[in-house]
Symmetry: C2
Subunit: 350 residues, 2 copies
DNA sequence: GTTAGCACTCGTATGTGATGAGTGCTAATA
DNA sequence: TATTAGCACTCATCACATACGAGTGCTAAC
């Protein structure tokens, strides 16, 4: 049974451990002024908490440290998000106070802001263009056999790629094609659009056929690749800030994981259904993160969640604070994104 | 004086040290079958080499390790580039055997190929568009108040960015403007082009003036930013492969350096005048690299060197091998780049 | 000029004992 | 019955001592 006192003790252990990273002994807890019982009593309670799987002893004569289960309970029940003070807000806001030219810059700034304020490794994935709806398509001839194909999403995001075209295609033809393609893809996702084009234009023959095929081909190929690259990390060196990770082999594994990107990318994109997602220790699917925690949040563009960002660090992290930071960073991202589309003379979104 | 025997001993020490990373003693050298003198003789010679600054003793009763000066001599005189065998060539070629869609992919693959075959940290910087000549400019209206501005470089590289435009600008006007802009910027670098536009169109007034100003503004701003982002690293975790860097604080500093990017970017772009550039230990301008070596090479597009790539690792690296690898990787990059422009139905360069 | 021999150096590994934080358990207490 | 004081016990950590061995510099002999 988790009596109120047990909960209080557990909370105290977690708080203390998050602060120091050292195993917490019974006396440390009993000395806290909100505890009015002796260390012996605490010891008995702690023994019970250990039996219930909330505390772990690294070795017989050491204090206790919280288990993943304890952190989970903490996050679910005991934690109060910690409001940021004016100073902290300012130091975050100053990252976003520069004029953003393109979405990549925003992603970079976000990663930086996150890692520097949390002192953890940050991850940001860019807008998932695959989930956005298309507004129009524009083909532009830029060389004899090369055209640029530009996708304008409903949020204003632009994606473009080059495509080889037969030599005798005229700009006027491309303009006409752009018009009819635009009609047919409006309000569809990239993937849907590709299918739609396949169907609607299935009767085309000859040169047109070849052109369309190349377009479809190029688009679908690049779709997967763009995503893979659209993830960035910040403060990778912060992994060393935490004594429990001052271990070369762990660090190497971690860097390797970041370098591969796709594992983390998958993890991040899975989490887009909730406002926050917290994975503690073994709750992580990725092996190398089994003794770390990942806290993620999503950002919105208009009404739909189109990307996510978060931090990776030791299970011993200040969840309350981290969540407040994520939340504040998120609101900054949103306002920048909106600013980017709304503002008439300033900032443009690529 | 550096007698032939001294040189041979120095070479032996370097070879051995590159292999093991441990201080090399006189007996180790004298046992090599190409040495027919006793360890005592070697000791005397080594003492001389130490006086001349080619060898260093980490402490009194340890063997010797080569100094930066020794590596420099080695690279200049003693080193023979080591031909790659069929296996090694294949394992590199397989990285480039995939179809490349865009230049970013090529950069990524290069970084990967380099870091995996050298087991070092690799750096690749993308084509320096600022040094390329423009072929034409194309403005395309993609929304009510947004246009895409596309720069086509003479090598086929394309750069584009969005720009806000007054609402009443027609596509036809943009087309006409594209024509006259193209004429005026042809064969100039981005920077020259901006100046040229400023001069040639200095008489424009009103709406046109505003449009032009916005274009010039956007372009010059983004010019610097694009470059900054156009550098990527591979195999950062390889820093830990070398015993001399199994030191957390060194590793942290190194990661921090990579994260900042601009220092390394500057170093890399300085080195574009030579085929190879080797910086050994203290020859590096960057503090954190004072005990590492950087080997860089450049790649060409058409006739001009437009980017560079290389590796960063311990001064104790197999320079001969590394250079062969860089050279082979370089030739792969070139052929891919040419393929990208020449091939009519396959690959496109963004 | 080369080499064998030897005393010397010094980093590394190993072992030992002291220290102290923290525990579990028992018996006394409220 | 819950709490607490007291105490024996555990065990990681640290300081210190010792042994080991790779490698050196130097000298004297070849």
């Amino acid at each position: 049974m988790l009596t109120p006192r047990k909960l209080a003790i557990l909370q105290a252990v977690i708080d203390e451990y998050i602060l120091t990273g050292l195993p917490i002994g019974s006396r440390t807890i009993s000395k806290r002024n909100d505890m009015n019982v002796s260390s012996a009593t605490i010891r008995n309670e702690m023994a019970d908490l250990e039996d219930d799987g909330f505390l772990v002893q690294p070795h017989t004569s050491a204090g206790r440290i919280p288990s993943d289960k304890a952190y989970r309970l903490y996050v679910n029940m005991l934690m109060h998000t910690i409001d940021l003070d004016e100073n902290e807000r300012n130091s975050i806001r100053k990252y976003f106070d520069v004029k953003m030219q393109e979405i990549e810059q925003l992603i970079g700034v976000t990663a930086q802001a996150l890692s520097e304020t949390t002192k953890l490794t940050s991850v940001v994935i860019g807008p998932q263009t695959s989930q956005l709806k298309l507004k129009r398509v524009q083909l532009v001839k830029i060389a004899d056999t090369t055209a640029l194909i530009v996708f304008v999403m409903d949020t204003g995001v632009i994606r473009n790629m080059t495509v080889q075209i037969p030599q005798d295609i005229t700009p006027e033809y491309l303009e006409a094609l752009s018009q009819s393609l635009s009609k047919c893809v409006e309000d569809k996702t990239m993937q849907e659009a590709v299918n739609e084009i396949r169907n609607s234009f299935s009767l085309e023959k000859g040169e047109n056929r070849r052109l369309l095929d190349t377009v479809i081909d190029t688009v679908s190929k690049s779709d997967s690749e763009v995503q893979e690259r659209n993830i960035i990390f910040g403060g990778t060196e912060n992994i060393f800030n935490h004594p429990e990770y001052r271990n070369i082999d762990k660090a190497r594994d971690f860097l390797k994981l970041l370098e591969k990107k796709d594992n983390i990318y998958n993890m991040m994109s899975k989490a887009t259904d909730m406002e926050f997602s917290i994975k503690i220790g073994a709750e992580n699917d990725i092996d190398q993160l089994k003794d770390m925690s990942v806290v993620m949040a999503t950002y919105k563009f208009g009404n739909s969640k189109i990307g996510s960002f978060g931090v990776i660090g030791p299970t011993r992290m200040n969840y309350g604070k981290i969540m407040s930071i994520l939340s504040y960073v998120g609101s900054n991202i949103s306002s920048i994104l909106n600013y980017m589309i709304d503002d008439d003379d300033g900032l443009y979104l690529k």
